[in-house]
């Protein structure tokens, strides 16, 4: 049984990736999860500099989901390379570094610095965080901005470049196309949906940032639809995510068109979810006589329903 998948020049030994922003820098989980057993670990979004993020409250629970507005708190790229990357290397993790800038030059600088670091497998461009005012999503909500940031980073690195797309646009497939034209090796989607929760007793928003990003099982059908639409629009691989909570969900994304998947919120609930997901994928492949997991990608059958006349 072959669980490997390809993301551009990068081969993952299985399609499961810990989602950025949901797994710290990976090292937090090193004693609980065999990091080498994951397809990859996407670490928390990094700027050039340290950031403290928003004041609490930073999350609020919603039906089958949660909102977050962390504000990209982070230790900055230099400290990441010095303090976290050595342990990730020692644990033999495949590391995808999520990077975020306020200007094009910052993305380029981050890509340069990380291209020289040992143990970075790919760059995920965060152009979709809904929780910070400056940078990031201003690129991700403009077709030209998406094209410009991807092509600028493309020019300075040989690492696979994977822009992470926002769902908070009318037509996400056009952004996937812009990323492909700019030379992206793959796209990842979706980031969270911009949302809001109000405490009706106090009439105050429940997050300090007023609005935040919705994740969790509640968003899964929308995310699956977006992956499906992007699969029709581009030929580069898609890393799919949005509310995956078990193996069936992961397989659903792959059938919709994702070559690999990221899992975030569900690993908050169950940090030991990874071997369960792998076992579930294996048993699905057995039941359906699928020898290579990559053969599932984009196999959704939208032809005439056989149960109808």
């Amino acid at each position: 049984m072959d669980l490997s998948v390809r993301i551009g020049s990068l081969t993952l030994h299985n399609p499961l990736i810990a989602a950025s922003g949901c797994f710290g820098y990976g090292v937090e989980y090193a004693d609980l999860v065999d990091l080498a057993s994951l397809g990859a670990v996407a670490v928390k979004g990094l700027f050039l500099e340290e950031r403290e993020g928003h004041p609490p409250p930073r999350i609020v629970e919603t039906p089958a989901g949660m909102l977050n507005a962390i504000g990209l708190q982070g230790i900055g790229v230099r400290r990441f390379i010095d303090e976290k990357l050595p342990e990730l290397r020692a644990r033999r993790a495949t590391v995808i570094v999520n990077i975020c800038g306020t200007t094009l030059d910052e993305y380029v600088e981050l890509a340069r610095i990380l291209s020289d670091a040992e143990g970075v497998a790919a760059l995920e461009l965060n152009i979709s965080c809904p929780n910070i005012k400056e940078g990031g999503i201003t690129f991700g909500c403009s077709l030209n901005g998406t094209f410009d940031v991807v092509s600028a980073v493309r020019k300075v690195t040989r690492l696979p470049v994977v822009p992470k797309l926002t769902p908070n646009v009318t037509d996400v497939a056009s952004f996937a196309r812009a990323a492909e034209e700019a030379g992206a090796d793959a796209v990842s989607l979706v980031n969270t949906f911009l949302a809001m929760v109000i405490d009706v007793e106090t009439r105050r928003p429940k997050l300090s940032n007023v609005v935040g990003g919705l994740s969790g099982p509640a968003i899964r059908p929308i995310a699956v639809r977006m992956v499906y639409e992007c699969r029709q629009a581009i030929t580069i691989p898609i890393i799919g995510m949005g509310g995956i909570a078990d193996a069936r969900d992961a397989i659903e994304f792959m059938i919709a068109g994702a070559s690999a998947v990221q899992v975030g919120t569900a690993s908050f609930v169950d940090p030991f979810i990874w071997p369960k997901l792998l076992d579930g994928i294996r048993s699905y492949m057995e039941r359906h006589h699928v020898a290579r997991v990559a053969d599932l990608v984009g196999t959704v059958d939208t032809g005439p329903r056989s149960d109808q006349p």
Partner: protein, 278 residues
């Protein structure tokens, strides 16, 4: 020990009031490893709604007839979907319980004294701490404030351990009327003239309760030069450092304010380290 996730059987659910209950869970591995002040992440129901686990201090470590750890209890207060389910949990039901997590209280030994300061559901870490202090022969006092007499729980438990009780209620139905920080300040003031390390000197303070009460207690501790640890309560997503939800503002060695994750750096933190007015 790294935390473990167990499907813990509810062995009893003891209602304490219309809002509070004590849930006892069979979890020997967690019970054996837990230190006072640590917490567990409990999944209140099956399925996706409610989705996240909620953090609870280990209230008591439960032991069998021979003294071997067999489980833990948690002190629950109904405030939302998960705590509502936990209030209604039935014996025999199984709940996902991940732990033990976080930094425990730093214990003291005689001749140092320990003062526990609890507000409302902030009593949660102190049953286990009182037992541990009793085992060390430490003289302990519990300053415990609640809204009304009917919301002061487990008083006999603490009395049986030899813990001295100082009680306040907001409506005056038990103990002194008002806030717990009033008798706390008088007690600290009465010790202020005694030099540290001698009998009667400022005690070690352990504080858990509403944020304003913890801030006031920590400031009193600083004013009277008492060492003070607080157990911070923040909304947590994972309890493991993954989500960065539960941050507390602290002043770093560089004198700048940093956000640290209370699941990893806490929940027990030094009271003088926290930027209370942030």
């Amino acid at each position: 020990m790294p935390p473990v996730d167990v499907a813990a059987e509810v062995t009893s659910n003891q209602p304490l009031s219309a809002d509070y209950n004590v849930l006892r869970l069979a979890a020997p591995t967690i019970a054996a490893a837990a230190a006072p002040g640590q917490f567990v992440m409990v999944k209140a129901g099956l399925g996706h709604d409610p989705l996240l686990r909620r953090p609870f201090s280990v209230f008591e470590v439960l032991r069998d007839a021979r003294g071997a750890p067999k489980g833990i209890s948690i002190l629950n207060k109904r405030i939302g979907a998960s705590t509502e389910l936990l209030y209604a949990a039935r014996p025999g039901q199984r709940l996902g319980c991940l732990g033990p997590l976080g930094q425990p209280f730093v214990p003291v030994d005689p001749p140092a004294e320990a003062w526990m300061v609890a507000g409302g559901v902030g009593l949660a870490p102190f049953a286990a701490l009182a037992e541990s202090l009793g085992g060390r022969g430490v003289r302990a006092t519990l300053f415990y404030g609640a809204r009304r007499a009917a919301e002061l729980f487990y008083l006999d438990f603490f009395r049986d351990l030899g813990v001295e009780l100082v009680l306040t209620t907001e409506d005056g139905t038990a103990g002194e009327r008002g806030r717990i920080t009033a008798p706390l300040e008088r007690a600290l003031a009465s010790r202020a003239t005694v030099s540290p390390g001698t009998p009667g000197a400022p005690p070690m303070m352990y504080v858990c309760g509403p944020e304003a009460m913890m801030a006031a207690s920590a400031k009193l501790a600083m004013r009277y030069h008492a060492p003070c640890f607080v157990s911070m309560e923040r909304t947590m997503g994972c309890g493991l450092g993954g989500c960065y939800s539960c941050v507390v503002a602290v002043r770093g060695a560089d004198d700048r304010v940093h956000h640290v994750r209370s699941c990893l750096a806490g929940p027990v933190m030094a009271g003088d380290q926290i930027v209370w007015d942030s």
